[in-house]
Every structure is written in structure tokens, then in C-alpha cells.
């Protein structure tokens, strides 16, 4: 397959998956036994009022009709309004998504070099001391759930050492939030240039980003160790060594062959991050999309839940597709499959 046909095929599959995700989020609410009308009408509503709300919501319409109305609405990009406070879900998500991205990007900045570094150490010094040490670090990181790690980091850096702020969100109460440019508070602070706000925002970002970053670094380390090990053991590497290339050149070539699996799993990790941020955002009172979605779930605010799953699934699928296309451009073997 040539590059363009591969990209086109991948995009087509992405669209089909998007449709599947939209249908799943519809089914999630249509099939599960909770009645949104009861949630809207409130605990003191009479049965007549509940029936009235059910009629308003169209819950008595045939399932197929509701499904196509839902699909039509979603296609127009309208995610509905919150049952809790009547705000537009689109607006709500647009407001909150930058701070979740801020957290994800910051944790990837920590995780990618650390994880690939640990993995490369393990692969290059296979079964030697450095490999054992890096495997131990990775094994420990993998056995610690993110919420435990967060609690440990808060205790050590905030309660004992006092060098990081406690779990109080993106800024201290006394800091004035910078004017909204991108919605990522640390970035906005840098763009609008207030030194005090910049350091406050960055110090609040440090612990949540470190928590997520360490957790994902362990995954990156395992993948890059396995794939770099394979590349270093290949005939190609033996040939490079036999040709008398300098060692750094040999490692560089091995790195190039090992990048495809690392990229592919990077996409999977990105998808999993939306789940991972839910817990980290909740602990650190980070005012982001995942924390909002958990709050919405506790309120059984079903349009908000649908909107979140839809947006998170869509973003993940787009990232999957982009990285696949990228991997296809970098590595012809992917296109051949």
C-alpha cells in the first residue's frame, strides 16, 4: 500500500470507530437502568411530574428514533445541556479541556525522556547491573497505584519538606489567575508574563505532573526496553558493528528501528491517560475535564457523561490514527500489514 492509500484507509477506519463510540455512549444511557427523569425532577417530584419530564425528554419515543436524533445532534457538534445546572456541555468541555491537556503534556515531558532512558539503559546493558537497577525502578513504579504515589508525593514534598503546595488546584487562593489565552494556566502565565504567577502555577503543576509522569514512565520503559533490545540483537546491528561503525552510531540506528512500537504504545498510553487523570485531578483538586466528568457521574448528569466519553474517545481515536499514519510514514513495514 502506498502512503496516501494507507492514510486514507486509516482515516476511514477512524470514522467508523467514531460512529461506534457515539453509539456506545448512546447505549450506555439507553440500556442502563438509571432513569434520568428521576434525576432531573428531583427527589420530591410526584410520579406525574416524573412522567412529564420523561415525555419532555422523549424517553417514551421508540429507541430507534431517539438513536437517530442523538446521532444527528452529535453530528452537528451539539452535546446537549447539563441536567445539573443547564449549562451547555460544549462550553463546559471547551473550558476545561486545556487544563487536562496541560497536565497530560507536562506528565509526558517527564515520562518520555525518563521512560525511554530507563528502557534504553536496560536494553543496552542487558542482564548487567544497570539493567537490574532500571528493572527494579520500573517494577516498583509499576506496582504503585497512581493514587498511592500521589499521596506519598504530597506527604513528602508538601507536608514534610514544604517545598511544594498542597493539593489545592492550579493556583494558590491568593494568586490572581492570568487572563485566559490558551486556558492552560501555566502557559497563560508565561505568555502574559507575571513572574509570581508563573512560579506559582508551575509549582502547582509539579506534583500532579510528576505523579502521572512516573506512572507512565514505567510503561514507556518496558516498551522501549523490549523493542530496543530486539533492535540491538538484530543482524542489522551485528552488521553495523562488523562494519566498524562507532558505537553511538550503532545505538542510533537501533533507536531508529525501535521507535515504531514506542510510538504505537504512546497512543495507547494517551488514551489511558484520560482515565489516569481522573484520579490525579481529583486528588490535586485540578479543575480539569476528568474531575468534572467524575463529578458529573456522581450527579448522574447523563448528557455530561455522554459528552465526556464521546470527546475523550474521539480525541483518543484521532491520536491513534495520526500516530498510525505517522508510524506508517516512518516505517514501511506498518503499511504492509
Amino acid at each position: 500500500m502506498n502512503r496516501l492509500r494507507f492514510a486514507a484507509w486509516r482515516l476511514f477506519f477512524m470514522l467508523v470507530s467514531l460512529w461506534a463510540i457515539a453509539s456506545l455512549t448512546f447505549l450506555l444511557v439507553a440500556i442502563l437502568p438509571s432513569n434520568p427523569a428521576v434525576a432531573i425532577a428531583g427527589p420530591y417530584a410526584t410520579p406525574e411530574q416524573v412522567t412529564q419530564v420523561e415525555n419532555d425528554l422523549g424517553l417514551h419515543d421508540p429507541l430507534a428514533q431517539r438513536y437517530f436524533e442523538f446521532l444527528g445532534r452529535t453530528l452537528r457538534g451539539d452535546l446537549g445541556t447539563s441536567l445539573y445546572d443547564g449549562t451547555s456541555i460544549n462550553h463546559e468541555i471547551a473550558q476545561l479541556i486545556p487544563s487536562t491537556f496541560e497536565l497530560i503534556i507536562a506528565s509526558l515531558i517527564i515520562a518520555v525522556p525518563l521512560g525511554i532512558g530507563l528502557g534504553a539503559l536496560g536494553a543496552y546493558f542487558h542482564r548487567k547491573f544497570a539493567d537490574r537497577a532500571s528493572s527494579l525502578v520500573v517494577g516498583v513504579l509499576q506496582s504503585i497505584p497512581d493514587f498511592v504515589l500521589a499521596v506519598v508525593l504530597i506527604y513528602v514534598f508538601s507536608a514534610v519538606l514544604g517545598i511544594a503546595p498542597g493539593p489545592e488546584g492550579q493556583l494558590s487562593i491568593i494568586s490572581v489567575p492570568p487572563p485566559r489565552v490558551t486556558g492552560m494556566i501555566a502557559v497563560d502565565a508565561i505568555l502574559t508574563g507575571k513572574p509570581a504567577v508563573i512560579s506559582d502555577a508551575l509549582s502547582h503543576l509539579a506534583l500532579p505532573a510528576l505523579t502521572l509522569g512516573l506512572v507512565i514512565a514505567a510503561v514507556f520503559a518496558r516498551i522501549s526496553r523490549a523493542s530496543l533490545r530486539e533492535a540491538l540483537e538484530s543482524d542489522q546491528t551485528k552488521f553495523a558493528r562488523a562494519s566498524g561503525l562507532p558505537e553511538w552510531r550503532v545505538v542510533q540506528y537501533a533507536f531508529l528501528t525501535s521507535r515504531t512500537p514506542v510510538l504505537t504504545y504512546g497512543a495507547i498510553i494517551f488514551g489511558a491517560l484520560f482515565g489516569g487523570t481522573a484520579i490525579v485531578e481529583t486528588i490535586f483538586n485540578w479543575n480539569g475535564l476528568s474531575q468534572w466528568s467524575v463529578t458529573s457521574m456522581l450527579r448522574t448528569d447523563y448528557p455530561a457523561i455522554q459528552g465526556f466519553v464521546l470527546v475523550a474517545g474521539a480525541i483518543t481515536l484521532v491520536v491513534f490514527a495520526l500516530l498510525d499514519v505517522l508510524a506508517g510514514f516512518l516505517d514501511p513495514r506498518v503499511r504492509a500489514q
Binding site: 456506545l24 493514587f147 482515565g275 481522573a278 476528568s290 474517545g313
Partner: protein, 286 residues
């Protein structure tokens, strides 16, 4: 980590060199299983020093001492009693969820190893499922369908089954290309009989290793759900709820409330990962 990430590691027994005897592996499996069995037995049969469901309002946030070995939390619960009692619910639910993932995932993985239309369907559906933030979907399912153990188990299966499907499929594809499967087909075995009699016994070890990993993921998912306030109802002790209540007061220096349930989670997860590694070596060293 509550991010359930499934990593497919290629099963390449040939690439492994045997470093140690099978005996070491059996010891490893036993050593990893022991803490979990002991914890489970203790939670059911050990007489606890204090009631895990009745707080003592006179003993709030006491540090660890001779009276309360692990201290007490903000409501006056004894942390030691609750940490042990939590195993009663958390462990069986995790094992149940992982077992159901195996029961659903293995047949689907076997079916997906063929190249018929349903194989593609199963794999594409797995792709879509894995592109969703599964922890969030689990939270959504449990909060919408109601806080019951059945729904928590359903959520665990949603997170766990895709891993079984992928691993069993890649294992089964390798087995299918072997001579004895060709021979069985040549002798007129039906495709289902080939799967059941010839492929299934040879991939079961892969599924068993995955089962221990799925259980350890399930422990983390359950604790994560409880941590977010979903799953177990208030007086029932669970590690996630305990860690949450500890996380809320850790800024004031009450480290013991969150530490001991966290250690319990880490102990169980490390033990299970240890069992899975030893099992994996055992399988690969055949």
C-alpha cells in the same frame, strides 16, 4: 496506576535462556500466593482488635501506638482492623472480575485467531473498546447502573477482557501454524474441535499468566473506583475508601491513615506480579 494498559509481549520461549530451575519458579509462585491467601484468611477468620464498621468517636486520628497499632482515622476507625477487613470484599471481587474476564476473553480470543469475518469483528470491537478511557467508562457504568458488586465486576471485565482477547489470539495464531494442527485438520477435525482439543490446552498457560496480571489490575481498578467514591457503600471497609480518607488529611501530617491501606494494595499487587513472573518463567522454561 489505575490506567489499565495492556502490553502485548511476544511469547518467544526460544529467545529465553533458562536461568534457574523449575523449583525456583514453584517457590516463587508459592511465595507470591502466600501473602494473598494469608490476608484473605485473616480477613475472614482472624478476630480483629476493633470493629471495622463501628467507629470509636473518642479515638480520632490517634497515631500508631500500643492501643491502635496502625492508628485511627478521622472518624475513629481502627486502621489495622479496617485494613484487614477490606480484603474480605476487595480480594474476592478482584478474583471474580479477573475470572469472568478470562471466561469471556479466552473463547473470543480463540475465535479471533481465525481469519473469518467474525475474527475481524472481534478485533475491531476490541480496538474501539481499548480506545475508550476505560476507567471512566467503568465509573460511568457503575454510577449509572448502581453501586452493586455485580456492576463493579462488569466494569472490571470491560477493562480486563480485551487483554485476554489479544494475548490468546496472538498465542493461538502461533499454535495454529504448527504441524499437529495441520494434522488434526487433515484427519477431519471440525474447526471447533481443533480449537478446543488442540489449541486451547496450549494457550491456557498464557491465559493463566494473564489472569494473575488481570487480578492485580482489578485490585487497582476497585481501589480507584472506591477512591473516587463509587463501588462500595459507606460503612463497608475497602482500601480505596480508606486511602481517600487518608489523602484528605495527609496534608495535616496524619500519614498513617493512608499509608497502611496503601501498603496493603501494594503488597497484593507486588505479590500478584511476582506470581505472574514466576508462572511466566515456568511456562517459558518448558
Amino acid at each position: 496506576m489505575a490506567t489499565p494498559i495492556v502490553i502485548e509481549e511476544a511469547a518467544t520461549p526460544a529467545a529465553r535462556t533458562r536461568r534457574h530451575s523449575r523449583f525456583t519458579d514453584y517457590v516463587g509462585v508459592a511465595a507470591g500466593t502466600a501473602p494473598i491467601v494469608l490476608l484473605l484468611l485473616a480477613s475472614f477468620f482472624l478476630p480483629l482488635p476493633y470493629s471495622p464498621t463501628q467507629p470509636d468517636p473518642a479515638a480520632v486520628t490517634l497515631p500508631p501506638g500500643p492501643q491502635h497499632w496502625f492508628g485511627t482515622d478521622g472518624s475513629g476507625f481502627d486502621v489495622l482492623s479496617r485494613t484487614i477487613a477490606s480484603a474480605q470484599v476487595d480480594l474476592p471481587v478482584a478474583f471474580g472480575g479477573a475470572l469472568l474476564s478470562l471466561i469471556i476473553g479466552v473463547p473470543l480470543g480463540l475465535l479471533a485467531s481465525s481469519d473469518r469475518w467474525f475474527a475481524h469483528l472481534i478485533m475491531r470491537a476490541t480496538d474501539v473498546l481499548q480506545s475508550l478511557p476505560l476507567l471512566i467508562v467503568t465509573v460511568a457504568v457503575v454510577s449509572l447502573a448502581g453501586n452493586s458488586i455485580g456492576n463493579v465486576i462488569f466494569g472490571i471485565v470491560l477493562v480486563g477482557a480485551p487483554g485476554f482477547i489479544r494475548l490468546v489470539r496472538s498465542g493461538a495464531i502461533v499454535v495454529r501454524s504448527s504441524r499437529y494442527v495441520d494434522a488434526a485438520i487433515a484427519m477431519g477435525c471440525s474447526p471447533l474441535r481443533v480449537l478446543r482439543v488442540h489449541v486451547f490446552p496450549n494457550i491456557f498457560s498464557i491465559a493463566l499468566v494473564q489472569f494473575t496480571l488481570a487480578t492485580s489490575t482489578a485490585i487497582i481498578v476497585i481501589a480507584g473506583l472506591n477512591f473516587l467514591g463509587i463501588g462500595t457503600a459507606a460503612p463497608t471497609p475497602s482500601w480505596g475508601v480508606m486511602i481517600r480518607s487518608g489523602a484528605d488529611v495527609i496534608g495535616q501530617g496524619y500519614w498513617w491513615v493512608a499509608t497502611f491501606p496503601s501498603l496493603a494494595v501494594v503488597l497484593v499487587v507486588v505479590s500478584l506480579n511476582f506470581v505472574s513472573r514466576s508462572l511466566d518463567d515456568l511456562v517459558a522454561g518448558r
